[in-house]
């Protein structure tokens, strides 16, 4: 499938989901759905760096929060429509990603992961001490009840939900394009063996910077509309541990090598968490994430995607090969 076709197909899927929400006449669908979609974007963003290049980012929450706080700043300086804020949030977090990339260029494996953790702490401390955005006191972002688009009064949450839907489709499309392009090919060589990749002519440092930037930008975009969703933004909730955990757990559970993995992981785990919140309703919620994560990495190292491949009995080549050469040589 060509990328534009892919995009259109998924926009249609998104439209159906949205129409379904309208049919339900139920705000809960939009609120819960928003959270799940937000995780789709976040997990997809994380996976571009973590899944494609194999660099584990523990600081997803910081990127998410930078997007959210960019919106808070804009809200105070010059209120803009949310779609623009998403772009601004993407730029800010993309730049943070680029900076992180430069700072950690020569770090590999666990050192990189620890550096991202440190970066998150430093950024959170900066935000906590920055009174303009509310500091540790938090910032109130009062959203209107409805949005007037061409005379139509659209409930604000439906607007946010629709934006998140479109953003999710964009993120998936970007992830898929990257994955199937020369760039994605290069990312995969970095994941497998960086020294060998260099020897094959892959400019690994430049590619890593592109991955940190792109991944950061997507995660920032996921965070940009968040202040309008939550209404009251505090550093501790913007930098919430759940973002760091979920953005890692979701791709790992879904499968990290393809754009489908984070999507599956985010929908499965995100929905499960939403359901658990209103059913089991206790610390068990966190236990589910922990058990699923550990269970999956032990039993199904390639996530749900890997299980599907196994179930369908796909040949080894189909699993490992991006392009299978069919003609007999």
């Amino acid at each position: 499938m060509k990328s534009p076709v892919f995009f259109l197909v998924w926009i249609v899927v998104a439209a159906i989901v949205f129409a379904f929400g309208l049919y339900l006449k139920n705000d809960y669908f939009f609120f819960a759905g928003y959270t799940v979609l937000q995780y789709v974007v976040l997990a997809t963003g994380w996976n571009i760096l973590g899944g494609y290049t194999g660099y584990v980012n523990f600081g997803s929450a910081a990127f998410f929060a930078m997007g959210a706080y960019a919106s808070v700043v804009m809200h105070k300086v010059a209120p803009l429509p949310v779609p623009l804020l998403i772009i601004i949030g993407g730029i800010v977090s993309g730049l943070v990603g680029l900076g992180m990339g430069y700072l950690t260029l020569r770090l590999r494996g666990a050192f990189f992961a620890i550096a991202t953790l440190a970066l998150a702490v430093v950024l959170q401390t900066l935000i906590v001490n920055w009174d303009f955005v509310g500091g540790s006191r938090g910032a109130y972002i009062i959203r209107p009840n409805t949005l007037d688009i061409a005379g139509l009064q659209i409930p604000y949450i439906e607007y946010l939900f629709a934006l998140m839907l479109i953003l999710a489709v964009c993120a998936l499309t970007v992830a898929r394009i990257v994955e199937r392009s020369r760039l994605g090919f290069g990312f995969a060589t970095i994941r497998d063996d960086e020294v060998a990749a260099e020897a094959c002519g892959v400019p690994t440092l430049r590619l890593k910077l592109m991955a940190t930037t792109l991944s950061g930008a997507l995660m920032g975009m996921a965070g940009a509309p968040f202040p309008y969703y939550i209404g009251y933004l505090q550093p501790s909730s913007a930098f919430g541990l759940e973002y760091a955990v979920n953005s890692i757990a979701m791709p790992m559970i879904g499968g990290t090598t393809s754009w489908v993995g984070p999507l599956i992981g985010a929908i499965v785990l995100g929905t499960l968490q939403q359901v658990a919140t209103v059913t089991i309703s206790s610390a068990v919620n966190l236990l589910i994430v922990g058990l699923l994560l550990t269970g999956f990495v032990i039993i199904a190292p390639n996530g749900i995607l890997g299980l599907i491949h196994k179930f369908r009995g796909q040949s080894d080549a189909d699993k490992v090969g991006r392009r299978v050469i069919r003609e007999t040589p």
């Binding site: 995969a188 063996d193 020897a199 892959v202 991006r322």
Partner: protein
């Protein structure tokens, strides 16, 4: 398709690779101590030395995996000192690794495709079409006898096949200079013969080759010239038969 031979036509300079006073230390340990080495286009050079003599460090300094602290590495008349590893690959240096380092999540074909999409692509400044790339992958795989395994995972390959993949991938970058770092370790006698034959064939197509090896039979069959490193210093350089009779070389090998 452009042949490797046509690429190997080097400009005016008489030597393809020029290593001048290259030094490298790790902490207090001197790995390379002012190495000088010059390799002419089309030459087959064997590089030997005991373990820890600095052979791999020298290869890494030439390929850019490590950066030398003193001296200069020149290729085709240009200094490589400030270039990253991948930029040296564009210029025409390719290597195989001592321990094979295939991209394990990719098929054999995709392993071969990486240098095509990066090194060759960048050098040419244009995309290879899918068909061109596929054709070249098949050609490369066939040339090392991996044609039947083209869609397999590297994990399914035997040790010699892994070595062959390593060489084929290096060749995919269309190099002028190939550095084969212990391509035969752990192989049987017949397999060693097979690889040596392959390397000689490549050289005959115009590619300059430096071979690092412990297996003396292979070294003696292959090399037109032999260079010996001991404790980070070059102690001999010349015709293979002369070099192995050099008393200093004998001492270095037998004295330990």
């Amino acid at each position: 398709m452009m042949t490797a031979a046509s690429l190997a036509q080097s400009p005016a300079s008489s030597s393809l690779l020029e290593v001048e006073g290259v030094g490298k230390r790790f902490g207090g340990f001197i790995a390379l101590d002012g190495i000088n080495l010059s390799v002419a286009p089309g030459e087959r050079v064997g590089l030997i030395g005991p373990n820890g003599s600095g052979k791999s460090t020298l290869v890494n300094c030439i390929c850019g995996t490590l950066h030398n602290e003193t001296g200069t590495v020149r290729f085709d008349g240009h200094s490589l000192n400030k270039l990253e590893s991948h930029e040296r690959t564009y210029r025409g240096i390719a290597r195989s690794f001592q321990l094979p380092r295939p991209f394990v999540t990719m098929s054999v074909a995709d392993n071969l495709r990486v240098p095509l999409l990066y090194a060759v692509h960048t050098r040419r400044g244009r995309h290879l079409t899918i068909e061109e790339a596929d054709a070249r992958c098949i050609e490369l795989a066939n040339s090392v006898g991996l044609g039947a395994k083209i869609n397999k995972s590297p994990k399914d390959l035997t040790q010699i096949e892994m070595r062959k993949l390593e060489l084929a991938r290096a060749m995919a970058a269309d190099p002028k200079l190939l550095i084969a770092d212990e391509s035969m370790a752990g192989l049987s006698d017949s397999e060693v013969g097979e690889i040596v034959e392959m390397l000689i064939k490549l050289n005959e197509s115009g590619i300059t080759i430096i071979m690092i090896e412990h297996i003396m039979r292979a070294v003696m069959t292959f090399s037109q010239r032999l260079v010996v490193l001991v404790s980070g210093k070059k102690i001999a350089d010349g015709k293979p038969d002369d070099v192995i009779r050099n008393p200093e070389v004998e001492r270095a090998y037998l004295g330990q």
